[in-house]
């Protein structure tokens, strides 16, 4: 793994930029080189938002993500908008609320109930980003579990550590338990 590029997409306010920062920090703890960036529209809430993370053993020169290896998407709008930026052979994690799945047979698609788990199981919609990180980890092992947990705990508000640990665990479980919801060439 020389250079892995991730794109986390959804709508503004879903905490995806924080998720990108946490992931980058975890990779940093693993001793990797990282660049985290984001782009946003003029809206503070809503709209299409994306955070990007590059993780590399080597020094990162060009700091932008064009075509990514791994993509997470939490909304239909973001999915439609960014799907073509996922590399052939790449991994797509979509939230279960996304009904119109991309018509691509060159990628692996995992459809898991991230938002639903946050709301119904944990009662806190704002931890969806942490659940998503758990799922990304379980699927890709792109960072170590210890580093991820350390990064999460270092960035979430004081007093919410237990909740976020649980969210992370739920994220792992979603991938373990929802294999049947995978689409694409592999599943």
């Amino acid at each position: 793994m020389i250079r892995q590029e991730l794109r986390l997409t959804g709508s503004g306010g879903q905490g995806l930029i924080l998720a990108g920062i946490i992931l980058a920090e975890a990779a940093l703890y693993d001793g990797m080189n990282v660049v985290q960036s984001q782009s946003y529209g003029p809206e503070a809430r809503g709209g299409a938002s994306k955070a990007e993370v590059i993780i590399s053993k080597e020094k990162i020169n060009y700091p932008k993500v064009n075509e990514c290896d791994i993509m997470l998407t939490l909304t239909q709008v973001a999915c439609d908008k960014y799907i073509n930026s996922l590399k052939s052979g790449g991994i797509l994690i979509v939230d279960k609320s996304i009904e119109k799945l991309p018509e691509r047979d060159d990628i692996k698609i995992y459809r898991v109930p991230i938002l639903e788990t946050a709301i119904d199981k944990l009662g806190k919609p704002m931890v969806a980003n942490i659940i998503a990180l758990g799922s990304i980890y379980e699927l890709t092992k792109i960072v170590s579990k210890d580093s991820l947990e350390r990064a999460v705990l270092g960035r979430v508000p004081r007093g919410t550590e237990e909740l976020n640990k649980k969210a992370l665990e739920e994220g792992f479980n979603l991938i373990r338990e929802h294999k049947e919801d995978c689409y694409g060439e592999v599943c």
Partner: protein, 378 residues
């Protein structure tokens, strides 16, 4: 590892951390994308170290209060972007003629006018050099990474103090907003330069008098017993206005000479694989990261490419560019504009080698692939 802190840091954050490490204790500004985090973090951090932050009513007030605080004796900074940099030009000239040390950060965005507020561009290369009215010289620094933003911000303060001049820190939106690894030393061992204070008695103090062999006058602060006068008018050594042509010529020449005659100290260039290069890419900031990627790929395909990266973009690295021009067969200037720095590189290097430009302006960073194909296909 106790002597090092490794952390993930945003470019704008590194600017504030560097500034505070350099001794910044005053910030006045007006929020504007993509520089806003510099104001926000200054507001948070300054009172913690006994410093002061103020959000002014507009961009002009931001630079004015910054200069005021610097004359009162503090190390002061303001930050802005695009439209705000245009508004700050008059104040910048005031800092030049009054020889007020201060740092002005411009995190560039797409222009002209409101342009592309959240997208990168390198459109103020010439504005940073010539934007304020009247002839003058200026120091402009241009970092390419989060770590270098930290170091360069410290250097900006040091040069400002040493040469009693405003120093412009040009940044790219790409680097300002991205986060990457930064290693900071834990022992606070940062080299700091402070303005020279007068040692003479107040009766003998002339605020713009220079000592034999020096070009930079000593600087007292307000309230330190020296009761001097500061004006944006042309002034004599006494600090008071003068319309005398000899006084005017002496002052303006000294303001220019104190920078141009000290280029060896001020100019900093980073060269990568230029020693045996046939083709040199000249680039700065985010663009130079793409260029470095391109150089590596070109080398792999057998093309001897190198990167010439000015960190001090003004004053111009003429000597270094001349050496480069005599060494390589071709120079390509890559910048996110339609050819601003190219004009200067061509002026210096054009007599000795072929100089070409590659520029694009659409809100996206130039990619390594584009540079490679331009180098290969022209």
């Amino acid at each position: 590892m106790a002597d090092k802190i490794i952390k993930l840091m945003q470019g704008n954050e590194a600017c504030v951390e560097g500034a505070i490490a350099a001794g910044m204790r005053f910030y006045a500004g007006y929020p504007i994308t993509p520089s806003t985090e510099i104001a926000e973090l200054s507001a948070e951090k300054l009172p913690q170290v006994g410093g002061r932050f103020i959000q002014m009513e507009d961009e002009i007030a931001g630079i004015s209060a910054t200069i005021g605080a610097a004359i009162a004796g503090e190390k002061a900074m303001t930050a802005t972007s695009g439209p705000g940099f245009s508004l700050k030009q008059e104040g910048l000239g005031y800092a030049v003629i009054t020889e007020t040390p201060c740092v002005i950060v411009n995190v560039q965005r797409g222009g002209p006018s409101t342009g592309l507020p959240t997208a990168p561009a390198q459109g103020e290369i010439m504005q940073a050099r010539w934007g304020t009215h009247g002839d003058h010289s200026i120091i402009v620094l241009y970092p390419w990474s989060v770590k270098e933003i930290y170091n360069t911000t410290i250097r900006a303060f040091n040069l400002a103090e040493k040469y009693r001049t405003p120093v412009i820190l040009l940044m790219d939106e790409v680097i300002a907003h991205m986060r990457e690894k930064i290693e900071l030393s834990n022992d606070n061992k940062v080299e700091i330069y402070n303005r020279k204070k007068p040692t003479c008695s107040p009766e003998n103090y002339k605020p713009y008098e220079v000592k034999e062999g020096d070009l930079v006058p000593e600087m007292a602060g307000f309230g330190e017993g020296y009761r001097f006068h500061v004006t944006g008018l042309v002034h004599s050594e006494s600090g008071f206005p003068s319309g005398n042509e000899k006084v005017a010529e002496t002052l303006i020449n000294r303001l220019i000479d104190k920078i141009e005659d000290n280029k060896d100290d001020i100019v900093e260039v980073n060269e990568y694989l230029t020693d045996d290069a046939d083709i040199a890419i000249v680039a700065f900031g985010a663009t130079s990261r793409s260029a470095k990627s391109a150089v590596d790929t070109l080398r792999e395909s057998g093309i001897k490419a190198g990167l010439f990266r000015p960190i001090t973009i003004w004053p111009l690295a003429e000597k270094e560019l001349l050496e480069l021009a005599k060494k390589v067969k071709r120079i390509v200037v890559v910048e996110m504009n339609m050819g601003q720095y190219f004009l200067e590189v061509d002026r210096i290097a054009g007599k000795f080698t072929k100089v070409e430009k590659y520029g694009r302006l659409n809100g996206e960073l130039i990619t390594p692939e584009e540079i490679i194909s331009f180098v290969k296909e022209g």
